[in-house]
Amino acid sequence: MKKLIGFSLAMIFCFLLVGCNNKQDTFSLDKEYYQNNSFNELDKNTFDDLINNEKSFAIFIYQPLCTTSYEFNKILTEFANQYQISFYKMSFSDMKETELKEYIKYYPSLVIYYEGEIVDYLDANSDSDSEYYKSVDGFKKWFSNYVSIQKANSNDNLILEEETNNHTKIDAKLEDIVYDENKVNIYFFWGNGCPHCEEEFKFLKSIETEYGNYFTLNTFEVWYSKDNAKILEQFANAMGDEVSGVPYTIIGNKTFTGFSETYKEQFLKAIKDQYHNSYDVYFNKTQ
């Protein structure tokens, strides 16, 4: 029994090292705040209505005099343009007439609301928040801890897009996946912001030159996309796995939960062993 407990703890510890749990605290703002980049002035009455109607939104707290809000204003505007997210803005002097005065002591600040409740805000007098004020990436790092960031494509459909390490991750669509008898389909389920997923992306990118002819990578972001989360559940069930975190990867008849240095050899082996006439969970089990 003791051994079983020890084994279980080791497994839990191991997974904590290599995998990421579901990001329960991430949510979407209300729909009207996506796909445009306005900064509408917010008065007290409208603010009260938003709270009473349990809206999810974000407010930029600023004050025009004394130049202190300007740099952050520029960063926020660039962020809004890039990710097509709309914010409200409220001057610090107006804010002092609202419930926010209990929280926000200094401007500039950015406050996130979820269903009428404050989730978090930036503190201009805190070293730990400094990096979030200084660049679009820094702000995004903080904001995306809570809020789903989506980027509009030219067809006005929302797709998740994350640019890192000089590669762009654009998720696969099931209907576009084909079976190739000389290539194994890799199904890689990941979470936007999950560091282990990022490591796996880097690894798969690094083997592309040598092994690119042996596999096709199909990625599915599951923290922000409900559709992709359903695909994950469907595929994992078909493989006999119960998945509680990402990354989760299927290569032929092999599955991998989490990612670490020791997985690299196993990934390569699975690719090399199975690229010809591979087993494919999508075509063999789920269709």
Partner: protein, 225 residues
Amino acid sequence: MKKIFFTITMAFIMCFGLCACTSNTELKELPNPEITEGIRGEQFGIDKNINEETIDDYLNRPDSVYRDMRMLKDPGNYEAIGGDSYLSGFVKGFEVVPYPLLVNVIGLPEKVGDTYTGKTLYTLTDEGKYITNYEESLEILEYYFPKDKNIFLMCGGGGYAGMTKTMLVSLGWDENKIYNVGGYWYYDGTNNVEVKKTNSDNSISYDFWKVVYHDIDFDNLHEVK
């Protein structure tokens, strides 16, 4: 006779005691300037120890001057980005010496347009150098910001105050005697003097007569050739 002598002596002692007591009052030693946390410290240099929350403990010192760096009304079009461009209040004891009269303000957002663009004592170049525009510039600066005093600076949010400290230090002032106290908008103490007033008909007016305002008459100065 003894009674009279005793009374006079006692009165003298009491008087001297009182006088001595008053003249022996020592000013609380000021902490050295130290910037606060976050971007308020990094970007604007607001002081960690003497700031909006604590300035009440450091007012009325004979060894210090108190300066608010805002204009009464900033000509920048701040309404374009929301907000109020009037000085709506100040901390008692602070006298207004508008930063935009000392040096050209750079770095405002486009929508605001230009703030005050008239004459200034100095011109700040892109390289960060302060060029003297008038023969009296330094004399005026030393009058408003005496080097032998502690200098407490405020404005709306700490930006103009920070820029003023940067300028003074660059021109030779001792940085250890200058404190960026921060912004009036954050002040919630007991020495608030309100200038903005809501009238009975709900109109807004400003009691600028409450403000000790230091204008600079550039027409009577001599430009550096």
